[in-house]
Amino acid sequence: MIRKFSIALAAAALFAAPAAAQNIKIGFSLAKTGLFAQAVPSQLNAYELWREQVNARGGLDVAGKKRMVEFVQYDDQSNPGNAVKIYEKLITDDKVELLLAPWGTPHHFAVAPVLEKYKFPMVGNTAASVQLREIKPGNIWFVTSAIPDKMAAELVAMAKANGYKTAGIVANVLPLAKEIKASLVPALQKAGIAVKVSEEYPPDIKDMTAILTKVKAAAPEALFVLSYPGDSVLYAKQAKEIGIAAPFQFVAVGPTMDFFGKVVGPSANGLVTMGHWSPAKADWKRAKPFYDAYVKKFNEKPDYLDTVVSYMSLEILEQAVAKAGTDKQKLRQAIASMTFDTINGPVKFQGVQNAITPTAFLQIQGDELQLVWPKAIATSPFKAKTGW
């Protein structure tokens, strides 16, 4: 009896051994509740899609060996202090082998010292601030090229290229908007474009009529609305009502999200926004398949900004891990030195920043978001906005 049992056991062990290639634990925190909760699905969906795709291929390639991906995730309740705690827990308690980024600039900043302390590399995504450059390089990198001062420079270049002579600025008082504005004003001045109207508003604004009436009266040719998703919608609706006729209208954050088109409808046509990706870009081979897979899984379009940079950060991680495994030192070197092939074309880091992807803008043209600037990567020329 015992002999049969031990033979059976040995046989089982023999069969069990190759199948027990350990899952790889990848950890992160995202705000499921609180202020940022409505922005997070864009990022979480990218993470989920990636995991599904990787596991369908047999698992993540870790320096030659394939291992199935398992997420360890927590809710940071939109509180950066919680994110700090969670990442410490992920590293020291859950002992994850890889980390993914949380959502948003405050969280990236909060988590950076933790990464520094434990020398744990992580590819950041949904953060945009000029202060990112101040972070010590080595354990965190930022994929996005939508950095406020570069954006301001490019916006002015774009306005100039189209021959616009007057501008208006309507800005939220939150950090990203103000950073853009701080660079935008001097850049406009230098380019000789007159700022006819400049207004600021608090984040909980309910009605922009007073501001927009002033804007309409000033009639600038280029209007820069530095807004967050909620106020972007408010702007679009009220600008339509009041009839803002500027041919160049830039709405900072919002139009790249699927719901924006659904809420605002066809009158959103012609709005320019920040973003550096489009599935229409044929020479980025991975772009269209990603778009199709996302639409198939989630029944809606991806956020051309947040979802894309999140997915890019995963592609980068994937390619780096395939080469260097999970050894922190090797991984760090790989991320810092390799050129990656992503859905947004090639990416290479210089310090903490993405040196290849240009600061670009998208425009809503019909049902699609097209890349319109810089001309070198444009998928469609910029078309002036004619009415709502």
């Binding site: 927590y74 705690k85 827990k89 405050p106 103000k178 950073e179």
Partner: protein, 279 residues
Amino acid sequence: MAGDYHVGVGLSLLMYVALTQSWTVLSGMTGYVSLGHVVFYGLGAYVAVLLWGEAPLAAIVPLAALAAFAFAALIGLPALRVRGPYFVILTFGLAELAKYVVIVVEGWLGKFSRVIFGAPDIETLYYIMFGLAAAATLMTFLVRRSRFGRGLLALRENEEAAETVGVPTVRFKLLAYALSALVPGAVGSVMVLRQTYFEPAQIFDPVVSFTIVTMAVVGGSEDMKGPLLGAAGFVLLSELLWANAPQLYMVLLGLLLIVFVLFAPQGLSGLLPARRKTP
């Protein structure tokens, strides 16, 4: 290294103890429920952010506490003339007002968000927070047993009657209010150094105010036992449930709050067997 995570949890626990004990000195004792206590926390954090790099840590924390104390002393006089639900709503409105004022001030200074470099390590912050939690608990303990505390309780039951028997209600209320601001100001300065990032819209988070009140309800706000129980219970619950469905955790929290308000208004400390009658 595994210790670091537990230090982090400990830090959270101590923070909530410090905040809730302070809150109890005002709202538990006087019945003037503050739903905007985060205003002191946020102000303390702002002071720390302004002074970081200019002054040593040993000066920043007390200065943050003093700033909060001064603000409370200033605003307390008119604010405490307001009673009942009006006071509750007022405290909330004050916190929101302070938030927007700081946003505008930061705008004048040309700053929109601040990143703190070279922040002290977690052990240092932990010890400071331990000190703050101990100080706050001691404060509640001492106040409760003092004549001052008895006066506060008297005015909670019936302010006019207390006035008649000679309790200097106006002065006592003001003192309670200012004292309740002291530690939260310091706590704010410590936590902003922990997060190394400051943004006015995010630091004046009403959820902090609500969490303090929740812990006081669940733990009890009669004396120093309550906040200890409330904070411990809260942190324990969050550690247990966090990993699972986070929305479910919040739902549970909501349910707990309702259950306690309806069935155990004295909180957990009220459910404990009374060891001896309090004087």
